[in-house]
């Protein structure tokens, strides 16, 4: 450390940590990559989801409360990709035709209807 002089044991321990940080990281901290779950969070307006996968949308807080539409409306990802044998809608037993009107989810998602198992 050049500008801070450690004058107690705790400060000296911090000084050692600072030396390691300075030796280890590239200089340009301004370009830090920020992961979604990391502080500080990127700014995402509430009401938008971060990905399009009907049924799996989460808002910027990682929950569902801030979404425009209730996620319970459709559960497309369960239907198409879930390995779990009792997913709802169940494309093997109860709702084989549930997604037949939805060729492309990003365009035809309105055709997915509620399911009452």
């Amino acid at each position: 450390m050049k500008h801070l002089r450690a004058i107690n044991k705790k400060a000296r321990a911090i000084g050692e940590a600072v030396a390691q940080i300075e030796a280890a990281t590239p200089s340009d901290m301004e370009e830090d990559v920020v992961a979604l779950q990391q502080q500080p969070r990127p700014h995402v307006p509430m009401g938008c989801t971060l990905s399009f996968s009907p049924g799996w949308e989460v808002d910027a807080g990682g929950g569902t409360a801030g979404l425009c539409q209730p996620v319970e409306r459709d559960i497309y990802d369960c239907y198409v990709t879930c390995f779990w044998p009792v997913q709802v809608p169940d494309h093997v037993n109860y709702s084989p035709d549930w997604a037949s009107n939805c060729a492309t989810a990003t365009k035809d998602w309105r055709n997915l209807d509620l399911v009452f198992p």
Partner: protein
């Protein structure tokens, strides 16, 4: 739409102070102390009341001619040391101490009986929380041995353990004390641990035989007393009202002359009308020859006749500052002064403590009542509401956990905005219970006082760090040995 917002720097929580012409910061998140240069002060000034992005901060710092690379490195250093932070500080969640935190010390209340009747006593006075009815008045050797065994078994991984003898008046059960020391020396040696002892007494029952025993066994002695005759005899009286000074004076002189192995300390209780700190210190240190003298305001509910009011506290603090100045003068000459209140704080500043709890009560230290009940410390002895197990059945982990969760500094809302919390952590659990009915309550009645006192000690620390750093090193070594 996703928009990336550039994060901005803010100042971290610190307490700045000046000493000996230099500038310092006390970093609250760590308890670290740094001397800072003019460049650091420039950064902190620019972040006063505003946040700046990395680019903006570097730009502003370079605008007055500083080399941009230098400015870049400066910002990086301060961020790495966490004197500045990017965005809001991450929320801190209370972290419970490890459930198997090893015991280090027990305070054995060898008796709850006392031959004095000090009017302000927390054990017998108006604010007492003890419920001793129907319980043993003197600890038996069996209970004491069980306590030693518990201490050894619960001190997993520790090389040394400690026993403090306490009362009531401790020496009213000296026979037990003597026998326990014999037993504990053997038991700890068999367990491969070292052991040290201390005791607190009102000095009325000291004899030269007792003093020889204490010296031979390296038992540290703290004498509860209030000062010269007129002060001592105000509150520290026998049950018939007679003062105790005349009785203890010759005994103290014997103690101080013949106990050569450990420091002899006086512990003064400040009450309404007993605030003449400097005069008391001079008497105890210079006239009687105590090595260390420490002061603490009496623990009371708000309305007791003997409690200190704000004026009393102001006067106390003013006199503390006089003694603190003296302490510094001694330290600059490399000498020890003996004002415990400074010594204790300085030793905590040297290591940079950052406390989760105000003290070791219920954590590394517990009290044992004459009946063998465990409590967080000696001040909760015999109080049914605070029992935390028994020496025969062990520590009640559920009660211990609940006590420690309550007492954690991060569970105390009022402490979260205070820069002195690494040292204070909300203050004495017992005092909080007496004053607010809750061991987990911050001791709000002395916050200002703690902050002023911590600031005073930080300034002393700063002066020594600049003018006589060698003293701090030697002080740390001595403390490590005591």
């Amino acid at each position: 739409m996703t928009v990336m917002q550039a994060p901005a720097y803010a100042r971290a929580e610190y307490h700045g102070f000046e000493a000996s012409g230099s500038h310092f910061v006390y970093l609250v998140s760590a308890g670290a102390i740094f001397e800072i240069d003019a460049d650091v002060r420039a950064v902190l000034a620019r972040l006063d009341g505003q946040q700046l992005t990395h680019a903006a901060l570097v730009r502003e710092l370079s605008s007055d001619g500083t080399d941009p690379d230098e400015a870049e490195a400066l910002v990086r250093e301060l961020r790495a040391a966490r004197l500045i932070q990017l965005g809001a500080a991450a929320p801190v969640m209370p972290q419970a101490p490890p459930a198997d935190f090893p015991l280090q010390a027990l305070v054995l209340n060898v008796t709850n009986q006392c031959n004095l009747a000090c009017t302000y006593c927390y054990e017998f006075g108006a604010d007492k929380i003890a419920t001793p009815a129907g319980k043993p008045k003197y600890m038996t050797l069996e209970t004491a041995k069980a306590s030693v065994d518990l201490l050894i078994n619960e001190a997993v991984g520790r090389k040394a353990v400690h026993i403090t003898f306490f009362g009531g008046e401790t020496l009213m059960n000296f026979k037990l004390l003597r026998d326990v020391v014999g037993y504990a020396n053997g038991a700890t040696a068999a367990a491969g641990k070292a052991i040290t002892y201390s005791l607190t007494t009102n000095a009325t029952l000291l004899t030269s035989e007792i003093v020889t025993f204490l010296s031979d066994n390296r038992v540290g002695v703290t004498v509860s007393m209030d000062g010269p005759p007129d002060v001592q005899d105000k509150h520290r009286v026998y049950k018939n009202g007679k003062g105790s000074y005349a009785v203890i004076e010759p005994r103290l002189r014997t103690l101080i002359a013949h106990h050569k192995t450990r420091a002899i300390t006086a512990r003064v209780t400040l009450t309404e009308g007993v605030t003449d700190v400097v005069r008391i210190f001079r008497h105890l240190k210079d006239d009687l020859g105590f090595h260390e003298v420490g002061f603490a305001p009496v623990t009371t509910g708000e309305e007791r006749a003997y409690s200190l009011d704000d004026n009393g506290m102001d006067s106390v603090l003013a006199q503390f500052n006089i003694l603190a100045e003296e302490w510094l003068e001694y330290a600059l000459r490399g000498e020890s002064h003996g004002f415990t209140n400074v010594s204790e704080t300085i030793s905590e500043l040297i290591s940079g403590v950052n406390k989760s709890h105000p003290c070791g009560a219920g954590l590394g230290l517990m009290g044992v009542s004459p009946s063998g009940d465990l409590s967080p410390c000696h001040r909760f002895t015999d109080a049914d509401t605070h029992t935390m197990g028994h020496v025969s059945s062990g520590i009640d982990r559920a009660k211990q956990g609940a006590f420690l969760a309550k007492g954690h500094v991060e569970a105390k809302y009022d402490c979260q905005s205070c820069w002195a919390r690494p040292l204070c952590a909300g203050g004495c659990h017992h005092e909080a219970f007496v004053r607010y009915g809750d061991t987990g309550h911050a001791n709000l009645h002395y916050c200002d006082w703690i902050r002023q006192w911590t600031d005073t000690c930080l300034r002393i620390y700063g002066v020594l760090a600049v003018q006589n750093p060698g003293f701090l090193e030697r002080f740390a070594e001595r403390k490590g040995l005591s």
